[in-house]
Symmetry: C2
Subunit: 416 residues, 2 copies
C-alpha cells in the first residue's frame, strides 16, 4: 500500500498572509501523480513549540512528512533544530554544502556571515539534496516509521528541488501512479454537470470522475491509478470521450498548462501565428501566452492600448470610430483585432475592450462588459460578454475571465 504524506509549511510570513503557500500546492500535485496521498497540510510560524506540536501530530497521522521553509539564514529560522530534536537527530555540518555556500558568496563579492554557515548543518544520516537554485540544501532522513523531507521555502528553489530529487527519492514508497485528464465544460453549471454525470461518477471507480467550478466554467477531472502514466492516460480515454460526446462543442479536453497551452499546440500543429490587441486586459493574454517556453514560434506579440490615442496611433484605428461608438464597443473590438492581425502579420488575432472596474461603469456600459473580437482569414467574430451578471465581480476576476474567453474564441476558431 502507498504511504500517506503530510506537508508542513513553516513561516510566520505565511501566517501573516504575506506569502501565498504555492509550495504546498506544487508538492501536493507531484505527490498525487506518484500515488502518495497527502491527506493534510499544516502551516505554522517560526515558533519551535508550535512546530513541535505540528510535527508530533503529523508523525502520528502520516508516514511521510515534508516541511517547507524555515531553512533560511536568519535567526528566526529554527525549523531544522526543531525537526532534529523531535526526531532525535543531531545536526552535523556538511562540508560539500558549506563549500557551495562559500562559492555563492565569493562569486557575488558578498561576505559570508556566521548564520549563512548554519545553513550547512543537517540531521545526521540524512540524504542531502544539493540546491543549485539557492544556498540552503534540502535533505531527507528516516526516523522510526516516518520519512522526513526538508525543503527550503522560496518556490523557485522548492519546486526544482522537489522535481529533481524529492520525487525520485519518494518513488520507492509509491505503488502506482495517478494520472489525470481534464474535460472543460462551458456554459453549464457545476451542479447541472454533476446531475448529468452522476451515474457515471458512481459507476466508475478507476478512473474516478470529479467535476468542479473553475475559472467561470466547469472542469471535470478523470483520474486513473495505474502502474505508469501511459497506462493511466489510456484508462481515462473512454470516459473522456464519453463526456466530450455528451457536451459536444461546449466541451474540450484541457491539456496540462490549460487553455494557453492548448492554443499554443493548435497554432503549432496548424503552422499559424497569433497576436493580440488588449485594452481592459492590459497585456494579460500576451503574458499568459509568453509564460510558455518556445511560444515565439507562433506568438508574434501584442499591443496594450490603454489610451484612445494609442488605439489610433499604434493600431491605426479611426478616431471617429472611437468617438462615435465609445472605446468599449463592438466596432472598436473588431478594429482592434483586425489591426493587430495586420500590424503583426499574423493568421489570427484578438481584440479586447471592456470595463474591468471597479470604477468606470455606467448603467449602459456596466463594470464587467467586455467586447472580444477574433479575426482570421475567414473574417471577424465579436462576442459581447457581461461578466458577473447579477453577481459582483472583482477587477482581477473580470480580467481573467475576459482573457480566458478570448483564448477560448481562438481555440474554437482553430478547432473549426
Amino acid at each position: 500500500m502507498s504511504r500517506s504524506a503530510e506537508i508542513i509549511a513553516v513561516g510566520t510570513e505565511l501566517l501573516l498572509g504575506e506569502i501565498i503557500n504555492t509550495d504546498g500546492a506544487y508538492i501536493a500535485s507531484r505527490l498525487a501523480e506518484i500515488g502518495i496521498n497527502a491527506y493534510y497540510q499544516t502551516t505554522v510560524g517560526d515558533n519551535p513549540a508550535r512546530l513541535k506540536e505540528a510535527l508530533e501530530i503529523a508523525a502520528r497521522r502520516a508516514d511521510i512528512i515534508i516541511t517547507t521553509g524555515g531553512l533560511g539564514p536568519t535567526f528566526d529560522d529554527l525549523t531544522k533544530e526543531t525537526i532534529a530534536s523531535v526526531f532525535g537527530k543531531k545536526l552535523v555540518r556538511d562540508q560539500a554544502s558549506l563549500e557551495h555556500i562559500r562559492v555563492f558568496f565569493e562569486k557575488r563579492g558578498r561576505e559570508m556571515t556566521p548564520n549563512n554557515i548554519k545553513q550547512a548543518d543537517l540531521p545526521e544520516g540524512a540524504v542531502i539534496f544539493k540546491n543549485l537554485w539557492g544556498t540552503a540544501p534540502a535533505c531527507a532522513f528516516e526516523a522510526g516509521n516516518n520519512i522526513v523531507v526538508m525543503l527550503p521555502g522560496p518556490p523557485d528553489e522548492c519546486f526544482p528541488l522537489t522535481e529533481k530529487y524529492v520525487i525520485p527519492y519518494l518513488m520507492r514508497y509509491s505503488d502506482g501512479v495517478l494520472t489525470s485528464r481534464y474535460v472543460r465544460v462551458y456554459d453549464v453549471g457545476e451542479s447541472a454537470v454533476e446531475d448529468r454525470l452522476h451515474d457515471l461518477m458512481i459507476e466508475s471507480q478507476n478512473p474516478t470522475i470529479a467535476p468542479y467550478a473553475k475559472g467561470g466554467s466547469v472542469l471535470v477531472r478523470i483520474t486513473a491509478k495505474a502502474e505508469d502514466r501511459e497506462t493511466g492516460l489510456r484508462m481515462c480515454e473512454p470516459i473522456v470521450k464519453q463526456i466530450l460526446a455528451i457536451y459536444g462543442r461546449k466541451s474540450y479536453e484541457e491539456l496540462e498548462g490549460g487553455l494557453p497551452s492548448l492554443v499554443f499546440s493548435l497554432l503549432k500543429e496548424q503552422g499559424k501565428t497569433f497576436s493580440t490587441a488588449e485594452s481592459c486586459t492590459g497585456g494579460l493574454v500576451a503574458k499568459l501566452m509568453t509564460d510558455l517556453p518556445g511560444v515565439s514560434d507562433v506568438f508574434m506579440g501584442g499591443v496594450c492600448t490603454y489610451s484612445n490615442q494609442a488605439k489610433a496611433d499604434i493600431l491605426g484605428i479611426d478616431p471617429a470610430l472611437i468617438e462615435n461608438n465609445g472605446a468599449v464597443s463592438e466596432p472598436v473590438a473588431r478594429a482592434m483585432a483586425e489591426n493587430a492581425r495586420r500590424i503583426y502579420h499574423t493568421d489570427i488575432a484578438v481584440g479586447i475592450t471592456g470595463i474591468a472596474g471597479p470604477g468606470g461603469g455606467t448603467e449602459e456600459k456596466p463594470v464587467g462588459l467586455v467586447y472580444i473580437a477574433c479575426a482570421d482569414e475567414s473574417g471577424t467574430e465579436v462576442r459581447k460578454c457581461t461578466f458577473g451578471g447579477t453577481l459582483k465581480r472583482t477587477r482581477d476576476r473580470i480580467r481573467t475571465d475576459a482573457a480566458n474567453a478570448a483564448l477560448d474564441m481562438v481555440r474554437k476558431h482553430l478547432m473549426n
Copy 2:
C-alpha cells in the same frame, strides 16, 4: 487579550495541488491587521472523518475557527454537515438565502437542482452573511468557547465576504490593530541585512522588525500594535526612517500593492505618463500596471514585440540594428524604450529584451541575460542584468525579476 484563530481550508482539489490556497493568505493578512493571531492553518480534503479530526484539534488550540470551501452544491461538499455535527448544531433552511439562489438561476435561465437548494441550509442560530458574489452564503456562530466562521472557497467570493462581513464581525474579539510598513532593500543579502539590523531588532519590541528575502531583494517588515491604524503607522515612522538612512538609495519604503503601486503614485503625483516595450517579459509589466484600478490616467499602454518583424514594424526599430547586435542587446533595449516613449507619447518608457529560457541560451548570451532600458526627457539608461548568476533560475522567476527590475528603474528615475 486578543483571541487566536485557526484557518481550515477544505477541499480535495487543494490536497491534490490543483488549486493554490490564496484564501488562507488573504484571511490571515486581514486577521493580522486586526490583531488576531492565526497560529495555524490546516488543509484537509472533502472527507468528513479527517475534517472532524481537524476541527477538534482546532477547537482545542484556537478560539476562532475559520473554514473555507466545501460549501458548493456537489455531493462531495460535506463541510457544513460535518461542522454542524462537531459543534452540536442542527442545519436549518434560510429562506432569504434560498431566494437569492433561486433568483440567480432564474436570471441565468438555468434550472435550480436539489443540491443547489442545500446551499441555503445553515447551522441554527448562525449570523448569515449574504453572498453578493456567488450562491453559497457565509455565516458565523458561537459554540462553547469557540467562534466558527464558514466561508465559500472561490477567492472571488471568499475575499469580498471576508472584507465586508467577517472582519467587521470579528472586530469585537480584537484588542488592537497591527499595522505594518515595509522597507525594500536592494543589492544586499538577507543575512547581511539581519546582521546590520540585529541590535535594532532586539531592542525594538513594538514595533517589531523582521527582514526576509522576497523577489530578489530583502523586504524589512516593521509592525506596530496600537489602538488604530493611524497610531500604528506613526509608531513605525522612526524605525522606517532609521532603516532608510542606513541603506540610502539602495532602499525605499514599499507601499501596499508593491512596486507597481509606488510607480503609479509617483507618476500621478508628478503628472507623468508611462509606456512599455516588452520582449522576454511579454506584457508582464503592462499586466502588473493594469492590475491597478484607475491606472489609465498615467499608463498609456505597451507593446509586446516577440518577433523581430514586430520590433521593426510596430516600434520602428531599424532591422540592421537587430541584425548587427542581436535582438537581446543593449542598443535594441535602448531603441525599444525610446520608440515606446515616442509612439505612446509618454514621459517615460521602458524597453526589455532578454532570454527567459529554458531554451535559447548560449555561452555568450545565457538564460537570465536581460537588457532593460528606461527612457525619459533626460535621456536613456540601460542596465544589463544577469538573473540567477551562478544559480539556476526558472523562466517564471526570470520574467518576474526582470519586470520588477524595470519598474524599479522607473521608480529611481521618478525619485531623482
